[in-house]
């Protein structure tokens, strides 16, 4: 039944009660929804919360010739986008802030600052660029973002990075497009349509915690939508579409918690939880307690524990199952409390990258990308992808890659030079990082002078260069799980794992802010004023001198003489001088 029932003392809908008996999931309706929140306390005192909402739909947009018209949990706007543009995979993220790997570790879902969009199209598409242009316009309407600024001048076609995260075997990179907008602002107007895509909206389940006033008052906020085909079941004989909406947020110790190392759901989100989403088959909260009891204490304590291997580390989690009524206790609301008890050191992340601009002046400069391999004895290869706009003219003959002050020749280089106003630079290199080392990639560039209409209304702010992407298979200390099971928590099943000894990770560097030589835009006005003044004063005086004639001007008569003249005029007598 769909009516809420009195379980204990709390009114709560039966979990999954919108489906008729036993008909949810594979047997009845073909879509299911799961939601999950992972809370990971960080060693700096901050706290990292990662929401994942997954809708799995057993349908094929591309193969079935008839139009799909019955949408239930999967949002219709995205379904129509997928079928109209023959999209095989779509990944879009909006991020505010920069992920600090050295202080916070690796995120579950990495994302660069600003907006990032990469799409794999299906083999049947004949005009990929046309589809890409229309897709960006449609997505800009759906997410209220300026994605229409993505055009050929900032789109690249990576040749080895960004392999599909979903099912498939053919990977012809002609069907891949990647673009970033590092300047894109993320605010409530992007969160509102994102929340509307969720089956329960922002009314029930974990999405009630998504209050914009708290989410944007944080050090890092990233919301993303990932759509890809996945295995429908463990035998993996057929495909199903998976839509993952992820939201990662890091709350700062000093701005959100006033310096006290005490966190609760109410402090983070200004709300507590009262029920799970009725349309969800699973609704769970995982709290990372691997460092418990030495580091912090968790309230309320729950007997449910779970272990998962994620990002090369085996972590223990306390699980709160929101579909069970006893999780909410006597007060019918769940408010988790975490209190720190001491400090400890963090495990150093194995892969870390930085980027900065060196040089002085507004003519030339040098881009330095530094990649750190912190593994004590293992070397591993990384794929570095750089996409630089055309107005920074790279001199590839000055490209140097050095590790431990020795030259390190990459085993694969793909470089596509830029074409002014048509195409950005694309540089992809496969570099082997020696163990416990720092590798530096430098390339010199020259700044171009743009046409005056190409400058933004605030050109003195500078121009942004998108983040570099470092993709790597990092050796793992713990054996990774290669079996695919339906019960795996969502945060550990995002990236497919092919072998046990390593895990795939993507690290984004900082975006660069570069000043181009900016003309003075008040110049035309000043020039016109100055020129007109010079012309008026110089030429005008000269003209007057040549053409002016002088006449003697008679002084005006005093009043008595004027009256006398008036009378004389009446009398008809000659006037006085």
């Amino acid at each position: 039944s769909t009516y809420p029932s009195l379980i204990g003392q709390c009114w709560q809908a039966h979990p999954g009660s919108v489906c008729s008996k036993g008909s949810c999931g594979k047997n009845g309706t073909r879509d299911q929804f799961q939601e999950e929140l992972v809370i990971r306390p960080l060693h700096s005192g901050d706290i990292y919360a990662s929401f994942q909402f997954r809708t799995l739909w057993d349908i094929d947009f591309l193969q079935e010739r008839q139009k799909v018209s019955h949408y239930r949990l999967f949002p219709k706007s995205l379904g129509q986008v997928l079928s109209k543009f023959s999209v095989r995979e779509l990944h879009i993220s909006f991020t505010q802030g920069f992920w600090r790997t050295m202080q916070w570790g690796q995120p579950f879902i990495p994302s660069p600052p600003g907006a990032e969009l990469w799409v794999w199209f299906h083999d049947t598409v004949s005009d990929v660029d046309g589809n890409w242009k229309e897709l960006t316009n449609v997505l800009s309407g759906i997410f209220c973002a300026s994605l229409n600024f993505i055009d050929l001048t900032n789109t690249v076609q990576p040749s080895a990075s960004f392999k599909p995260l979903g099912l498939g075997n053919a990977t012809d990179h002609r069907f891949l497009r990647y673009a970033t907008l590092p300047r894109e602002i993320v605010c409530t107007e992007n969160l509102t349509p994102w929340k509307k895509l969720l089956p329960c909206g922002s009314k029930a389940g974990l999405s009630v915690l998504l209050k914009s006033e708290k989410l944007f008052h944080s050090s890092f906020h990233s919301q993303a939508v990932h759509i890809r085909p996945v295995c429908q079941d463990e035998q993996c004989t057929s495909k199903a579409w998976e839509l993952r909406q992820t939201l990662n947020v890091v709350f700062d110790l000093y701005t959100s918690s006033q310096g006290k190392k005490e966190w609760s759901l109410f402090k983070m989100f200004s709300r507590t939880l009262t029920e799970a989403c009725p349309l969800a088959t699973s609704s769970k909260i995982y709290v990372d307690i691997t460092d418990n009891p030495e580091l912090f204490e968790l309230n309320p304590v729950t007997p449910l524990l779970s272990q998962a291997v994620v990002l090369g580390d085996r972590r223990t989690y306390s699980v709160f199952d929101l579909t069970r009524a006893e999780t909410f206790g006597q007060l019918c609301s769940l408010n988790l409390l975490l209190r720190w008890k001491g400090d400890s050191d963090m495990l150093r992340p194995l892969l870390h990258a930085e980027r900065y601009v060196a040089g002085f002046g507004l003519q030339t400069g040098e881009i330095h990308t530094v990649i750190y391999n912190n593994h004590p004895y293992r070397a591993f290869p990384v794929l570095l992808m750089d996409s630089v706009p055309w107005y920074l003219q790279l001199y590839i003959h000055t490209l140097t890659v050095t590790s431990k002050s020795r030259d390190n020749k990459p085993s694969y280089i793909h470089y596509q030079p830029a074409k002014d106003r048509h195409r950005p630079h694309l540089l992809e290199m496969l570099i082997q990082l020696p163990p416990h080392s720092m590798t530096e990639v430098t390339v010199q560039f020259e700044r171009a002078l743009l046409k005056w209409t190409e400058y933004t209304p605030d050109p003195n702010h500078g121009f942004y260069v998108g983040s570099s992407v470092v993709s790597a298979l990092v050796p793992s200390m713990v054996a990774m799980n290669t079996n695919f099971t339906q019960d795996q928590p969502l945060f550990s099943s995002f990236v497919p794992v092919k072998e046990e000894s390593s895990y795939f990770v993507r690290v984004y560097t900082e975006p660069l802010l570069v000043n181009l030589p900016t003309p003075d835009f008040s110049m035309p006005y000043n020039v016109i004023c100055l020129t007109c003044t010079v012309v008026a004063v110089g030429y005008g005086s000269f003209y007057n001198l040549l053409t002016r004639t002088f006449q003697v001007d008679e002084p005006s008569l005093p009043l008595e003489k004027r009256l006398a003249n008036l009378i004389r005029r009446i009398r008809g007598v000659p006037l006085l001088a």
Binding site: C144, K163, R183, C187, S411
Partner: protein, 376 residues
Amino acid sequence: TDYNDLYCLFTLVQFTKAGQFFSSGHTNNWAVLVCTSRFWFNYRHVANTLSVYRSVKRLGIPDSHIVLMLADDMACNYRNPKPATVFSHKNMELNVYGDDVEVDYRGYEVTVENFLRVLTGRLPPSTPRSKRLLSDDRSNILIYLTGHGGNGFLKFQDSEEISNMELADAFEQMWQKRRYNELLFIIDTCQGASMYERFYSPNLMALASSQVGEDSLSHQPDLAIGVHLMDKYTFYLLEFLEEVHPASQANMNDLFKVCPQSQCVSTPGHRTDLFQRDPGSVLITDFFGSVRKVEITKDTINLTSPVEPPIQRSGSGDIQIESLTYVDQLPVAEIIHQKPKQKDWHPPDGFILGLWTLILLVFFQTYGIKHLKHIF
């Protein structure tokens, strides 16, 4: 029967209201709200636009019928001490940004060209619906502009201007394409009255916050945020609109009285000579609200056949049981041996050389070898 009598009485009572019911002649409402200023110290212009947005949404116009253009982001600006909020009163009483705002044109997209394209409807075909003004000849449109302006122009983002003649021409294009039934134009800038001086299309009513030669002033600064929060005219306009509700009978004459010189310092102006109806009979909700007119019918409508249940996929046991796999994320060996494909066609090596040899041979054949000395 007394049921029939009751029905007749009902119709009679309603007859007096029927005239009013159909007097305005519009069936849908649209709003185009534009803030043209960039930079943090122009916070008040964004707050102005968001206040009008809030009132218009509260009175019933849905987001799909509002085109909101904000030239800069104040809510999530790094200088904002309270992110995701934009306040209109000091002491942070009213957050006009809200929780479900949808901005259609943001940042660099707010340009004169985009504004005129939205008004006239001449947008590229791939523009999404939320960015279009899909009005028809029965639409009442509210247009609100705010920013920095002067005598006869309005500045967009400190880099370009729109003149009053361009605006008047855009409205004439809208009239000729029958894109509006009636249009209310409100502008809150310095010397705002100059912007409506040149209008010449019918059914336009305009309001401005100051006359030519006068400056519109800002209302009050907030010491915590550090900038002025609102302009005087829009502040009192918001105060007036907060008291209007969807069933309100307030009319345009009340709107003209908003913010007299004693409160605003500048003299608000208005122009009604191009408007057909008497302003006293025009309700505020004709432009600011979206009062739906419902016609009740007694006819029956036959529904089409019900939705077919989704066709079950044919059993996978019959066709190939090929197991699908995920792609390798970083296939190092494959990448190293990958040859980048040559997409541009270049002529084969030696072709150019051979071509030149052929040309030279033909040249010497026709003109003889004695001309060889002219070349060397």
